[in-house]
Symmetry: C2
Subunit: 250 residues, 2 copies
C-alpha cells in the first residue's frame, strides 16, 4: 500500500486538479469524498481507480475493496484535496459513467440550472420519482462537481444522468411521439390540467430566467405550478418535485 505525506506530491496535485471541470473533462475522472458517497459508489459498481484514505480512517470490512488500489495519506493531504472543511478521511477517484439510454420512456431535461445544490437535489428527486433518465444540458452546474454529487446523495451512481444537448433529446422524443412539457410561469397552463402518464419529458430551467425560449417553442405544452401566497416563485428543485410526482403514473 502506498503512503503519501507531502501535499506537494505529484499525485496529490493531480487529485486536487479534479476539482476543476477542465481536468475532469480531460481525464474522464472525478473525485468523491465521505463514507456515504464512497459506499454508494462501491455498491453501485462505479469503476474506482483509487481509494484515498486518511491515516486515522477505518474502512468497513463489508466494503470488500481488496482489489482497489489504495493510498494512505496524512490529514494534511486529505484536507488539500477535499472540498469540505472537515473531511471524513476517505475519498475516491472514479471513472465518469456511461449509460445505455435506448429505451427511455420518462426523462427530465435540466436547462442551465446553475446552483450545484439545486442540480444535485433535482437529480436525487428524479431518481426517487422513478424517472428513467436525466439529461443535463449546457449552462448547468457540472454533474461531477463535488457539491452536485453531494446533493445527489449517490443517485448519480445508479441512475442515468447524461450530459448532452437538450435540443437533440427534444427531437428524439418528438420522433417517438412522446409528450414534452416545458415549464413557464408566463405562458403555461396549470400542471394539474395534464394527466399522469408513463411516457413524457419535463424541462426545468435556470433559477432566474427559466427554460430557454428556444426549447419552450418546441414543447407539447408548457406548465406552471400556481403560486397562491405572496412568494414570487418556487425554488426550481421544489417545482421539479411537485411536477414529477404529479406527471408520473405509478
Amino acid at each position: 500500500m502506498k503512503r503519501i505525506e507531502s501535499t506537494k506530491n505529484e499525485r496529490v496535485k493531480q487529485w486536487k486538479k479534479l476539482s476543476t471541470k477542465k481536468e475532469r473533462d480531460k481525464t474522464g475522472l472525478f473525485l468523491i469524498e465521505g463514507f456515504h458517497l464512497v459506499e454508494e459508489a462501491i455498491k453501485s459498481g462505479v469503476h474506482i481507480e483509487q481509494l484515498i484514505v486518511a491515516e486515522h480512517a477505518i474502512i468497513p470490512a463489508s466494503w470488500n475493496v481488496a482489489h482497489i488500489p489504495m493510498t494512505i495519506v496524512t490529514n494534511d493531504v486529505m484536507k488539500t484535496i477535499s472540498d469540505t472543511e472537515t473531511p471524513q478521511g476517505i475519498a475516491a477517484v472514479c471513472k465518469q459513467l456511461h449509460w445505455n439510454v435506448d429505451d427511455v420512456q420518462t426523462a427530465l431535461f435540466i436547462d442551465a440550472v446553475q446552483d450545484p445544490g439545486n442540480v444535485g437535489t433535482i437529480i436525487r428527486t428524479a431518481d426517487a420519482a422513478g424517472i428513467d433518465a436525466v439529461v443535463v444540458g449546457e449552462g448547468s452546474a457540472d454533474i461531477y462537481n463535488a457539491k452536485v454529487i453531494r446533493a445527489t446523495q449517490g443517485s448519480l451512481f445508479h441512475f442515468p444522468v447524461i450530459k448532452e444537448d437538450i435540443g437533440q433529446w427534444i427531437a428524439r422524443f418528438q420522433n417517438r411521439h412522446i409528450p414534452i412539457y416545458g415549464t413557464s410561469l408566463q405562458h403555461g397552463v396549470d400542471y394539474r390540467s395534464v394527466a399522469p402518464s408513463s411516457s413524457f419529458a419535463l424541462i426545468v430551467g435556470n433559477e432566474g430566467s427559466g427554460v430557454n425560449e428556444q426549447w419552450l417553442k418546441q414543447t407539447t405544452t408548457n406548465l406552471y405550478v400556481p403560486i397562491y401566497g405572496k412568494a414570487e416563485s418556487l425554488n426550481v428543485a421544489i417545482a421539479t418535485g411537485i411536477l414529477l410526482y404529479h406527471l408520473q403514473k405509478k
Copy 2:
C-alpha cells in the same frame, strides 16, 4: 447622516453580534443584507431600526426611506458585519416579527429541521402554496439566521412564521377538530390516499431522524411520499412541496 469607518466601532460590534441566536433573542432584532431582501422588508412594512449602507452603494429612490435612520459605512465595515463573501453594500437591522394567528386553517409544523437552507426553502414553499402559517419548533435552525432568511427570499416578512412549541399547536388543532398529518417513511400511508382539504396541519421533520415519535403518535394519519427509484429518500423540502401542493384545496 452618520458615518462609521472603524470596524472596532461599538455599533459595528453590536451589529456583528446579531449573527448569533443568543444576541437576536436578547435584543429582539435581526440583521438582513442585500438589495432584494431589504426591499422586500420595506415593502412588507417590517420595522427597520437602521439602514446600513456601504459608501459606494446607491439606494433606489422608490424605496422612500427618508424616515429610517441610515449609517454610511466603509466596505471594510460592511464585510465585517456581512455573512456573505461579497456583500452587496446594503444591510438593515430589523425588529423580529409578531403575528396574529387566531384563525389559522392550514399550517405547517417544522420539527427539528437543521439545515438553514432547508428551513428557508420550506418556509418559501409554504408561502407559495398558500398555507396560513408555519410553526418552527425546537431543534430547527433559527428563522432569523442569515442563511434561513436568504433561502426564504423574503417570505419571512409577509407571512406568519412562528417560533413556538409544536405540542401546543397539535393540541390547538385537535381541539378544533382539524386533521393533523405527520410524515413517516416507516409507518405512514401513501399521501395520495388523503383528499385535499381547506383545513389541515402537516408536520415535517429532521433530515436524518424524521418527525419526533412523540408527535407522530398524536396525529390523525401519518403520510409518506413513495420512492420509486433507488434513491434512499427525498430531501425534506422537496417532500414538503409535494405534500403541501397535494393536500391544499385551491
